[in-house]
Symmetry: D2
Amino acid sequence: MVKATIVGASGYMGGELLRLLVRHPGVEELIPTSRTYAGKPVSSLHRNLYRILDVPFVNPNIEDIDSEIVFFAAPESEWFAKIPNLLDKGVKVITLGGKFRIQDASLDSKIYPGYENQALLDERVYGLPELYRSKIKKARFVTNPGCYATSALLALLPMIKFKDSLDLNRLVVTSVSGTSGAGAKPSEFLHHPEACGTVKPYKVLFHRHLPEMEFILKDTFKKDLKLYFTPAVANMARGIMSFVTVFSEKLDVDLSDNFRNFYGKEPFVRIVYGGDENVPQLRDVVDTNFCDIGVNLDPVSGRILVLCALDNLIKGGSGQAVQNMNLMFDFKEVYGLDLIGGHP
Amino acid sequence: MVKATIVGASGYMGGELLRLLVRHPGVEELIPTSRTYAGKPVSSLHRNLYRILDVPFVNPNIEDIDSEIVFFAAPESEWFAKIPNLLDKGVKVITLGGKFRIQDASLDSKIYPGYENQALLDERVYGLPELYRSKIKKARFVTNPGCYATSALLALLPMIKFKDSLDLNRLVVTSVSGTSGAGAKPSEFLHHPEACGTVKPYKVLFHRHLPEMEFILKDTFKKDLKLYFTPAVANMARGIMSFVTVFSEKLDVDLSDNFRNFYGKEPFVRIVYGGDENVPQLRDVVDTNFCDIGVNLDPVSGRILVLCALDNLIKGGSGQAVQNMNLMFDFKEVYGLDLIGGHP
Amino acid sequence: MVKATIVGASGYMGGELLRLLVRHPGVEELIPTSRTYAGKPVSSLHRNLYRILDVPFVNPNIEDIDSEIVFFAAPESEWFAKIPNLLDKGVKVITLGGKFRIQDASLDSKIYPGYENQALLDERVYGLPELYRSKIKKARFVTNPGCYATSALLALLPMIKFKDSLDLNRLVVTSVSGTSGAGAKPSEFLHHPEACGTVKPYKVLFHRHLPEMEFILKDTFKKDLKLYFTPAVANMARGIMSFVTVFSEKLDVDLSDNFRNFYGKEPFVRIVYGGDENVPQLRDVVDTNFCDIGVNLDPVSGRILVLCALDNLIKGGSGQAVQNMNLMFDFKEVYGLDLIGGHP
Amino acid sequence: MVKATIVGASGYMGGELLRLLVRHPGVEELIPTSRTYAGKPVSSLHRNLYRILDVPFVNPNIEDIDSEIVFFAAPESEWFAKIPNLLDKGVKVITLGGKFRIQDASLDSKIYPGYENQALLDERVYGLPELYRSKIKKARFVTNPGCYATSALLALLPMIKFKDSLDLNRLVVTSVSGTSGAGAKPSEFLHHPEACGTVKPYKVLFHRHLPEMEFILKDTFKKDLKLYFTPAVANMARGIMSFVTVFSEKLDVDLSDNFRNFYGKEPFVRIVYGGDENVPQLRDVVDTNFCDIGVNLDPVSGRILVLCALDNLIKGGSGQAVQNMNLMFDFKEVYGLDLIGGHP
């Protein structure tokens, strides 16, 4: 049993961590921090937790933290300087911001400026269990992947076996996301009258999850490659549907089967089938830690279209963080994550 | 042909005024004002008007206004002090804020404090054409009704004939609105992730359109009465559906026919029919100046349920304001307002 | 440990039963029946259950059922004739259709014609745990309440203490529901282009949950009363928000506290607080078995406005059915139902 | 002034034709046909037209048609055999179905089997005014483009100038559409509970608008090329947002300016600007005949991303058909089409 501190628990990611951990069989105490809401009950802000977690937010006194694990759900760079000391005290750390995900100091500090620490960057493990499970199990410091990056990577990684047949310089990823991905802070872009009943592309020339995707892919495929990523938000709070196009020589294989074998006993990745075309449904993964993938192969051109659905706040965020914690503490990997989607 | 100034043209109401007036056969020039956006093209903010109205917003120098009519789409009280001078110069004025709608100085100044002017309050005509058409035609100063008030009043006014059979102290109005009614300013309440896929009641104990409804009804029915009003927002940008419950002695009449007769040749009120039950569709009125009404009479209990649908920004706002302008300048009443809803 | 048969498991209610029961600690086997889909994996239809419940639907041979409990999620009257025999064999039965909810043979057979059985009607227990817990614990045959009825009853029942101060003949309930309440069968009314981005009232003069509400209320309050009920669907799949207006003499009490006391240790009813006004959020109850209630008292008029939010398929359907099963088999009441809503 | 017959006026495309033509200054009479609804008022089905077009649907007796133009909004092949006779009588014809759009008999009859007529196919003009305006002006028989095809073509055509720099074999188009594109017939796929709050890819390996796009592009670019098209529906009734990716050598041009020059005085194509990135808004084009295009050029890779927004039922359907009619009869091109989108 562990105590868990969530730094920045007032945001959406922090709130979902609390929701998932409050019923986690391996967690005995939750310490939610928030400078803004310190003293107020968690459930006054995350009203879904009313009568479930009514303890107050506390001030984040990182130095005095008495817990085995700290989740940094707040992206502010000031927190990063606290990590080495925590690790020294034997506290494990999972960060949910983008900092340190890209294990290339110059790229990392360009995109996430304000703090540099080569030793931390060297030590960090990228928290994609399907790729780095054994490293995560031994890690003290895990950087949780971005929501779009999780989606694109889980769709692309199984193709490593065929990498020499693919045009790796023309990977095209278009992702349609729920609006919760942008966080809890109101903005004109996501003011409801502006964002409902529509589809809004944004950051179409550069989204910072793009270099993250490319870095992990290059590191895995051991090849240079180029990815073109376009995000958009649609009229829903949660979920990401990614359309991943890969140009390929004609592959004479059952690609779905290959994906199924690749993910083998993965508890949270499901390769869906559907007759002529394999299309996952967002509904099946929203509010769960599942990532559902549909693999489609154009028999004439060889083009591969992978459709990938996950919940941006769970498998694309807090759920994956809990999965990482489970690995780091040798808990059952599904603890706290046995959520099943509804129909409809 | 008139020149029209829109003060506060950067908001949703102001934007819709521009959209309706830009193709109005009686308007030769539009002067959109905005302190915040002065100098920028209207279409940089209201992008729907791109290549249609690309003139810049100007600073609102009310004293120097050279136009026959001024619409005050901004609710700030500071503007009201400018009105007497405008009227003196022969400029007609339509206000879209709440101030002066309730022709009772103490009530008005309680709800809309910051400026008082009994002469203005005495002169103001309440801009509901179906009720005050002849007064509006002669008016210099019209206060445009609130969106919820328009909806409730158009649903209730035709029952004046039966007022002695009704329980006027238990009028119940529940209204479900699109989110544009709250204006263009982002808020946590209307942050898309919080407001999509749901129904959110708000101001359930007091919304300031309530005394407005009661004031006009009392003034018309010449009776004391009490109305209970509950607003909510749903997952749509535009439109109000009001559920109006009236307890009554059993009326042995075709109530729909009575409504139809009451509104006679009104160009923008349609009494819908539908077999067993009469239910208007929001889709039919959104983006139009129509108000569609369905009248339902419980044959056993005598309860009357009027369902009333309109577009909060058009018939509940800028469209009605244009209708009032048309009356004030003796234009055809439908000028600028010949919009037809789509299906679906 | 029990085996559970779900008759009509292909519908939304049946699917949600499977989802809730598949992880239920007291259920060792699930037998999903469907004439239409017999032989096909459950997860080919309810794709959310892929890799969770991939067993096939079986033909519903009620006579040969080998299970301790049967849920009838299909409303067809033909099934009802099978119930006496099941009860004789010691099988417990929960029905999710409307039949037998109203314990008045003439009213029941008028609304739900096709089968009559006075003994069954006499025996049935209405499955609202908050009202009939002790009876449910001893019951062999439970009729699960309608979704709207659950919502209205949970909002109204706590006022029994003040019943002599209330105008029980003018109870007004307006409910806005997600579209899943109408079931899985496509229709023009719920064709997406017709039903998205809007609010659609329907069955405004008579919905068959109305007499159900009145019957239970009269039976509980021991008084005659009259309720006016108007349902509508909005642009969301799940959830019901009910607006319940009760006219009352002025009550000099903290009504929220009274509701809180009334529901005491109920595991699934939460009385929300919110400062000036008490408004529950649908988001907090969707995908859970919670019913969240906000109580508002107009200090001037005495009018009471209760806002009541629940998930129509869970607390308003399958979740409540599982809660009833838990009571009938002396399982912990929360088994299978420890779902927490998300934010957002 | 012409009389216009709409065959199959009960569908969404037919309804929008009626809505646009009923206020068209060049149309003196509308003859809406429908076998299913013959005798019933148009406005009993298209309720948006209540009190605007209450004439009844008539049986489609094509032989006796007394009108200058016939729109075939019904896709059934039986109608096509009637076209030659109509043309012989001097009646002009616009078809809104897919038949004959692809001027390649074998491909056309493979995708749209059931009727063949080489002379008709030879004569047909593809009704994309921006490409074939002069031909349309002289045409007797116009096939109106598909909604997705309109979107992709308007996004791609301006690049003809640079065609030798582009990788024409790897054109990637992902389109997110409102659900009205699938027509008025209810289906499980578009049953509201299944289709709301989500994004659903479909026909991901082959949509029949794909060969249409390729045929017109090849015909225009005079080069072989290959396009990869993936459609999806999102939670909205109307609108298409297309994401068009084109790989290119680095172009040292202002591509937006090139697009602007290409479309010059086109009344309905707008090239939007937006600072760092050029993103059109669906809201600005829904309920209008505009197509808004944003051009984005990745300065490093040379990748071009064109975002293209239009209303699938107007510029992608009935609006474009009216535009074609205007050209064929030498009406002003904007007649009946001066719709402006709202904000929000």
